[in-house]
């Protein structure tokens, strides 16, 4: 959590040695501007290459099939053709899929964060015996391929009547995500200042009160990072939802889109419009939470 996403923050004034703008200038004199523009151009070319698939998707989502065969993928559509979008929207009942994805990812984000907090409270602050082993077990679970769990989960879900329900996926991902969350949060909470805890204990606070009145408010920034990550990870999950959710009415957006693959009614505008509206929620989420995300990824890496 030490690395804030402040790219190139100005150096603290207290730093002893003088910043060396002189050196910078002499170096630039050698390159005389030309090189830096070449480097910028190269970096922009890579960025454009990354964006090409999205640009092609946008260009062809609202272009009539006839125009696509005549003008190709790079032309601007001459009129706004929305039949593809309408066809996809109705075929998969998009609002329902959006609701399913939101319900699953939202529930998992909240529940997994809660479970992570409870686990990490016992491990990081309670320092219960054998905690190293418990943390190692969670870490190991985090590495497990889902393939090694999927058939028994499928079997157990059928036995308990949870098969083909959103609840099955919510339970499974609450556990899978909280395995990572516990690992991360336990190490964050183990650095919690003991004096604060001792003060609360002297005031006669129970461990439950300490958790919610002392630890929770202080850990809130980390918890919000976890919450956002769990949401996005669960939103993007494919394998277990594919196995567990076979009905169009329970499916998530990626699974519903994949189930239409190879369908002969999926013409070019339908595929592109479908991909567009399926990617859109994640893009919006990314733009809204970009700062938190970058902070979170780096937190995960440093721990």
């Amino acid at each position: 959590m030490t690395t804030e996403p402040v790219v190139l923050a100005p150096p603290a004034p207290s730093r002893g040695t003088a910043r060396t703008p002189v050196v910078q200038r002499t170096r630039d004199r050698n390159h005389r501007g030309a090189v830096r523009w070449v480097v910028l151009a190269a970096a922009v070319v890579v960025a454009v290459a990354m964006m090409v698939p999205f640009a092609i998707m946008l260009l062809n989502a609202f272009k009539a099939p006839g125009e696509y065969s005549a003008e190709g993928p790079l032309s601007l559509p001459s009129s706004l053709y929305t039949d593809g979008l309408v066809a996809f929207w109705q075929r998969v009942d998009y609002p329902e899929k959006l609701l399913n994805s939101t319900l699953i990812a939202g529930s998992v984000a909240v529940l997994a964060t809660l479970v992570s907090l409870l686990n990490a409270y016992a491990l990081g602050i309670g320092r219960i015996r054998g905690r190293m082993w418990v943390v190692a077990l969670f870490l190991l679970a985090n590495m497990l391929p889902q393939e090694a769990l999927v058939y028994p989960l499928y079997f157990l879900a059928k036995e308990t009547g949870l098969y083909n329900t959103q609840l099955s996926v919510i339970i499974i991902f609450t556990v899978i995500q909280s395995a990572f969350g516990t690992y991360l949060l336990a190490s964050v909470l183990s650095t919690f200042p003991p004096s604060v805890l001792e003060a609360a204990a002297l005031d006669g606070a129970s461990s439950w009160q300490v958790l919610w009145r002392v630890v929770f408010p202080i850990a809130r920034p980390t918890l919000s990072v976890l919450l956002i990550f769990f949401f996005i990870w669960t939103w993007n999950e494919f394998f277990i939802p594919l196995v567990m959710l076979i009905d169009n009415s329970t499916q998530t957006i990626p699974v519903a889109l994949a189930s239409l693959q190879g369908d002969r009614l999926m013409d070019v505008p339908t595929i592109n419009a479908g991909a567009l509206v399926s990617l859109l929620p994640a893009v919006v989420f990314f733009l809204v939470f970009q700062r938190t995300l970058t902070r979170g990824i780096t937190a995960g890496a440093v721990k």
Binding site: V7, I128, L144, V175, P254
Partner: protein, 320 residues
């Protein structure tokens, strides 16, 4: 019994002479109770299924009726199964596409953005470029894969339509449908998906590095590349370990992109262990066999992770 329990109880009053018992209990609450909900869920969703899966791997079972114990049969069959070896060979290709290439490109891009462009064009330029590289990472990989599978479609796909428009009909290949081009095509898509992750991690790592190191090197007349090799690379080694470890595990487990791009085909040329296991479980109903593949995959992942962690510990020792 009494002799054993006596000395254990004896120190208690010495420990806290004046303190009332109530405060002692508050000082040491039963924290393990907080672990109960998490532990119950963990056992039900991870431990029990994992053990069941290992058990299945020693049986023959079509998913209905009772599994029949067959010992190591599935494993001996696996070793003789060419698809099994192909799938792990393709895992190596996935490691190249999801770890080696993205890490190298990511190092270069991060260093250029942070140490060069960020300083000359301002932090906004660097962070916009970084967000652009990172975008594919936050999208559902299955959806991005579906977009790519259309772009690479031999008849209606954007790539071949463009090639034909340019008169390059001979280059308009069946990218995902031909055994010679399918794997390189999938690898290219995976590089596109993966490259932003190392860029973000490495850029954050570079903020940790003391700028004075760079200033001193610049004063000594070290060029950009010398500074990259002598300062950047050694300084961000911990992050490089994290990136290569997490990406290697992800590469070994890759499923979604294979499912939507090629379904492991043509002729298994893009099959990977996770898809191979899925095929055995569901379309083929060979549960025992699929469980054996999944168990081997788990072993490989755990061994690779342990080797990584050992290597990291060794390199830290060498430095310290």
């Amino acid at each position: 019994m009494t002799t054993l329990s006596l000395p254990r109880r004896a120190p208690a009053p010495r420990d806290a002479p004046g303190r009332p018992a109530r405060a002692r209990r508050h000082g040491r609450p039963v924290y393990w109770l907080y672990l109960v909900p998490g532990a119950v869920l963990f056992v039900a969703v991870i431990v029990v299924p994992f053990v069941m899966n290992v058990y299945y791997s020693f049986t023959r079972w079509p998913g209905i009726g009772d599994p029949r114990w067959t010992g190591l049969d599935n494993y001996t069959r696996l070793l003789a199964d060419e698809t099994f070896w192909t799938s792990f060979r393709n895992s190596v290709a996935m490691v190249v596409a999801m770890v080696v290439v993205p890490t190298l490109i990511g190092l270069l891009l991060a260093a250029v953005l942070f140490d060069y462009l960020g300083k000359r064009f301002g932090p906004r330029v660097a962070s916009v470029l970084r967000a652009t590289y990172y975008l594919p990472q936050v999208l559902p990989v299955a959806v991005a894969g579906i977009l790519w599978s259309w772009i690479l479609n031999p008849q209606t796909g954007a790539l071949n339509v463009l090639l034909r428009e340019a008169g390059l009909d001979r280059l308009a290949l069946n990218w995902l449908g031909d055994t010679s081009t399918a794997l390189p095509s999938v690898m290219t898509v995976m590089i596109w998906v993966q490259v932003g992750y190392p860029v973000v991690i490495f850029m954050a790592a570079l903020q940790r590095v003391d700028p004075e190191l760079y200033e001193a090197a610049e004063l000594d007349g070290a060029g950009w590349f010398r500074r990259f090799r002598a300062i950047t690379l050694p300084q961000i080694r911990p992050e490089t370990f994290v990136v290569t470890l997490t990406c290697t595990i992800a590469a070994l487990k890759v499923f979604g992109p294979i499912y939507v791009l090629t379904r492991g085909g043509p002729e298994n040329s893009t099959n990977v262990p996770s898809y191979f296991a899925y095929q055995s479980f569901f379309p083929k109903s060979q549960v025992g066999y699929g469980a054996a593949i999944a168990t081997v995959l788990t072993l490989v992942v755990v061994v690779v992770a342990l080797v990584f962690i050992r290597l990291q510990a060794a390199s830290e020792r060498r430095e310290g």
